[in-house]
């Protein structure tokens, strides 16, 4: 019987050896391939994610925009300014991260820039892993002013610092409340107003007459127009006594009824005047003088056809939807005054204004200023030029014409007492049955630009009266 007891014991020992070898198989041999399978590990990763004390998102003066509240070791993300939802984005374990929450995720989670020793110590003490704070370039005062000025209308406001490209304010309306994202998701997806879309960087709109700024800069830089050139038109009057004139371009009539300040008969206008009056005929002529290649080239120099290198998702603006479009003379003419197949984001047009303010250099737009960890700054954004659009001389001439446009042209609703404001309006025609989009781009003060803005109010009508006052309030907030 002792023999059989020994045999039984041996059998059990063999069983233990098999179990031990299998344990080694799962814990060593298969360990890395099992733990790297995201689909299988997502429940574990979720648990891990819930326990991270994510860093805060702050505005440029340290105001808290987003932070994580820990309860029983599980974090909840809180946002103080829902109207910044398109900048901060959201952090959701169900729907992922977007915008700054996504692009700076590694810092916010504490994966980057936290020194390994303090991570080890805090880990041993049961403190949740702590992420770094991301400081935005957003100025909450300007942001609030922009938000209030735009009101409930659909549209967007972008304000940048011309020299650095720092985004001071970015409003996209309608927005969503990131605190309620998971509850509201289905509703937000269905909403025809598309509150999840960041109109400021991803909304592609017809730029209308604001694009004349690029045509003007191109014509001056290329020497096809000179600052003191004089334009002559034969004005007619329509049924209501409004002056207008027509010019045939490539067999197609270009009508201009923009000359609000001229009387019927012969009109004599300077280049500055036609810009301030936003004369389509004059800009059609300039466009034809430049030709399709140079017109497209200058649009690209201002940033068209390139995705702005900002830290949140953005769209490139387009000169034409098909490469052959500009081969037609009518197309060149209509593109030169801002219609054609042009599509631009509010951010791109803010950068056009910033480039004129910044001696012809387009700054690299950025929205994150720095990242602060417990041991100090671990990331500081360095302002740098994005593109050289035109020479400082050309930029200066365009700037003066933009100032004149605010003094006596359609852009006058943006004028600020005691400050030289530079600006250009746009009234972009969309579909025949829709009211045009109202645009304004500009900067202030003209001699030492602190802020460049682009405003779009969808289907609101005339750019000067609809978008101009919004831009004025935003610029005032920056100059306060």
């Amino acid at each position: 019987m002792n023999k059989s007891i020994q045999n039984l014991a041996t059998t059990i020992v063999v069983g233990f050896v098999i179990v031990a070898v299998t344990l080694g198989y799962w814990q060593v041999v298969r360990a890395s391939d099992l733990t790297s399978d995201f689909r299988l590990n997502r429940y574990r990763l979720l648990e891990q994610e819930k326990r991270i004390a994510r860093g805060r998102i702050l505005d440029r003066s340290g105001g808290e925009l987003a932070w994580t509240e820990m309860k029983d070791g599980v974090g909840t993300r809180v946002y103080s300014q829902p109207y910044l939802s398109h900048v901060t984005g959201f952090h959701s374990l169900m729907f992922g991260n977007t915008n700054v929450e996504q692009s700076f995720d590694a810092y916010l989670r504490g994966d980057v820039g936290v020194d390994p020793i303090s991570a080890l110590v805090s880990g041993a003490l049961g403190q949740p892993p702590k992420g770094a704070d991301v400081v935005l370039t957003i100025d909450s005062e300007i942001q609030r002013a922009a938000e209030e000025a735009l009101g409930p209308a659909k549209g967007a406001v972008v304000a940048v610092e011309p020299r650095t490209g720092s985004v001071l304010a970015m409003v996209s309306h309608p927005y969503f409340d990131p605190n309620r994202l998971e509850k509201d998701w289905d509703k937000l997806k269905e909403d025809p107003g598309d509150p999840l879309l960041n109109r400021a960087t991803q909304g592609l709109y017809v730029p209308g007459s604001t694009f004349k700024t690029i045509t003007l800069a191109a014509a001056l830089e290329e020497g096809v127009a000179s600052p003191d050139e004089v334009f002559e038109f034969d004005m007619s009057t329509d049924n209501e006594g409004k002056p207008y004139h027509v010019e045939m371009v490539g067999g197609f009539p270009v009508v201009c009824a923009n000359h609000g300040m001229t009387s019927p008969g012969k009109a004599v206008m300077t280049l500055s005047d036609v810009y301030a009056a936003s004369c389509n005929v004059a800009f059609a002529r300039l466009g034809l003088r430049l030709g399709p290649d140079r017109l497209a080239e200058y649009a690209k120099r201002f940033g068209f056809e390139s995705t702005p290198p900002i830290e949140i998702p953005s769209e490139a603006s387009h000169i034409a939807s098909s490469p052959t479009f500009l081969q037609d003379r009518v197309a060149v003419a209509s593109t030169a005054f801002g219609q054609g197949e042009l599509l631009a984001t509010p951010l791109q047009l803010a950068l056009v204004a910033a480039a004129i303010a910044n001696e012809g250099t387009v700054p690299t737009p950025h929205i994150v200023q720095e990242v602060r960890a417990a041991r100090g700054l671990i990331f500081v954004s360095q302002p740098k030029p994005w593109k050289q659009a035109v020479s400082p001389e050309t930029a200066r001439i365009v700037k003066d014409m933009m100032v004149a446009g605010v003094r006596q042209g359609w852009a006058s609703p943006a004028s600020i007492e005691g400050v030289d404001v530079a600006g250009k309006t746009g009234t972009a025609e969309v579909r025949a049955d829709e009211t045009p989009h109202a645009w304004f781009i500009g900067f202030a003060p003209a001699n030492d630009p602190k802020i460049a803005v682009a405003v779009i109010k969808e289907n609101a009508g005339a750019g000067g009266t609809q978008a101009g006052p919004i831009a004025k309030k935003v610029m005032e907030a920056a100059l306060r």
């Binding site: 019987m1 039984l8 059990i12 098999i18 299998t22 344990l23 814990q27 060593v28 049961g126």
Partner: protein, 425 residues
């Protein structure tokens, strides 16, 4: 001799268990709450106190009994306390109460002089009582944890799982029965036509008791306990007879039964399919076993550290997958260490069996030892997908009162047997 008289080896090992418990609960407390408060050390204090009192009692009443088993059970229970404290802190007080109950019953068993004779003489009574209790669960069974099977008997707040006790009672009965009929079982033959078979008629009472137990547990869908009882039966039969034909015959019967069950019972079929390929339904039926494997994998060699992993993604981790939690937080070193502790336990158990004075004691010791070893293998192999998963406990470590109390009673039996083989009352 002096050292032996004072059971100093046992005391040293018990101090190691106390140290382990104190270290474990401190780390859990530090890892999950950031502080070690005096109240969080309470589980370690209760464990230390009961182990030391146990040592003192054995020192007075069972001076010659084995000195390694009780501390080993203590170390394993300390692992269990740490684990429950880590995974279900609110339940650790229950586990502590059961541990104290278990140790008390162990001491009673170990110091009961006429116990062994009494067990053998009334073997049918014990067996029928055990079967009766399990049968009661068919009528009055409750399912306190929502596991889907009504395996427990409730007394107010307290529940008890009789199938845990049944495995000990079955071994007691088998040891007693084969001790009486050993000669016939070993050498007797029964002619069936040209075939020479073992003495089947003499096996009948034994087969009846065993068959009844198996049927009951099958009726309760308690597959783990069924398998364990099956294996324990074969083990005792083999030890008594030294005839391999019982083992082969038993295994053949098992395979036939398993094949039949697979085709008849959905419950069994599901378990087997999930075992064969859990990956096709990794979010559904395969979820539990795959999360268990992920827990082992994410622990790697050294583990994440106590309270630093995510073992709670494995459903029922503290009752059915304690090894996965150990694998994740203590790594391969932790799981191999625990296996080594069980091996040591099994080694001491068989050593006691080999040194026992009579066949009944011998078979009882080897039988209960084998059942602890086999139970450990069944649940460990189930956790790592070597065999289909069954809801059986990891001895001493799993959260659960009946299992803990029963395993301490087994230690008590082994201590009693070793005390007697040393010639002491």
């Amino acid at each position: 001799m002096r050292a032996n008289a004072w059971r100093l080896d046992e005391l040293r090992l018990i101090l190691a268990a106390c140290l382990l418990a104190a270290l474990g609960v401190s780390l859990v407390s530090l890892g999950s709450r950031g502080v070690v408060s005096p109240t969080s050390l309470l589980p370690a204090v209760v464990l230390a106190a009961s182990l030391l009192i146990g040592w003192l009692w054995l020192r007075i009443r069972c001076g010659k009994a084995d000195q390694v088993l009780f501390p080993l059970a203590g170390i394993l229970s300390a692992m269990g306390i740490i684990l429950v404290f880590r995974l279900e802190p609110d339940s650790s007080v229950h586990q502590l109460i059961w541990m104290v109950t278990g140790i008390t019953l162990m001491l009673a068993t170990a110091s009961f002089p006429r116990l062994l004779g009494w067990l053998k003489r009334y073997k049918y009574t014990w067996m029928i009582a055990g079967i009766g209790l399990v049968a009661l669960t068919l009528v009055f069974g409750v399912d306190p944890n929502g596991s889907g099977a009504r395996l427990w008997l409730g007394f107010g707040e307290n529940v008890f799982q009789p199938s845990e006790m049944l495995k000990v009672l079955l071994v007691v009965f088998l040891a007693g029965y084969v001790d009486d009929k050993r000669e016939i079982i070993s050498y007797g033959t029964y002619r069936l036509g040209p075939l020479q078979l073992p003495a089947l008629p003499y096996l009948a009472p034994m087969l009846a008791m065993w068959g009844l137990s198996i049927l009951l547990l099958l009726g309760q869908k308690d597959l783990g306990a069924t398998f364990l009882l099956f294996a324990a039966f074969l083990a005792v039969l083999y030890m008594a007879s030294s005839r391999l034909i019982y083992v082969w015959g038993g295994l053949a019967m098992f395979l036939v039964a398993a094949y039949g069950a697979y085709h008849v019972s959905n419950h069994v079929a599901t378990r087997v399919d999930v075992w064969l390929n859990p990956w096709v339904d990794s979010d559904g039926k395969g979820y539990q076993i795959i999360q268990s494997l992920l827990a082992f994998a994410s622990g790697g060699i050294f583990g994440t550290g106590l309270a630093k992993g995510y073992p709670k993604t494995v459903p029922a981790v503290h009752t059915d997958f304690p090894l996965a939690a150990i694998g994740e937080e203590l790594g391969l070193l932790g799981t191999l260490g625990v296996l080594a502790l069980y091996l040591l336990f099994v080694y001491r158990g068989f050593k006691i069996a080999l040194e026992a004075r009579n066949t009944f004691s011998q078979m009882l010791a080897a039988g209960v030892t084998a059942s602890v070893g086999i139970q450990t293998l069944i649940i460990a192999a189930g956790n790592i997908k070597l065999i289909p998963l069954t809801g059986i406990t990891l001895p001493f470590i799993s959260y659960g009162g009946s299992s803990l109390v029963t395993n301490f009673i087994i230690v008590g039996l082994l201590l009693r047997i070793s005390q007697e083989s040393a010639g002491a009352p």
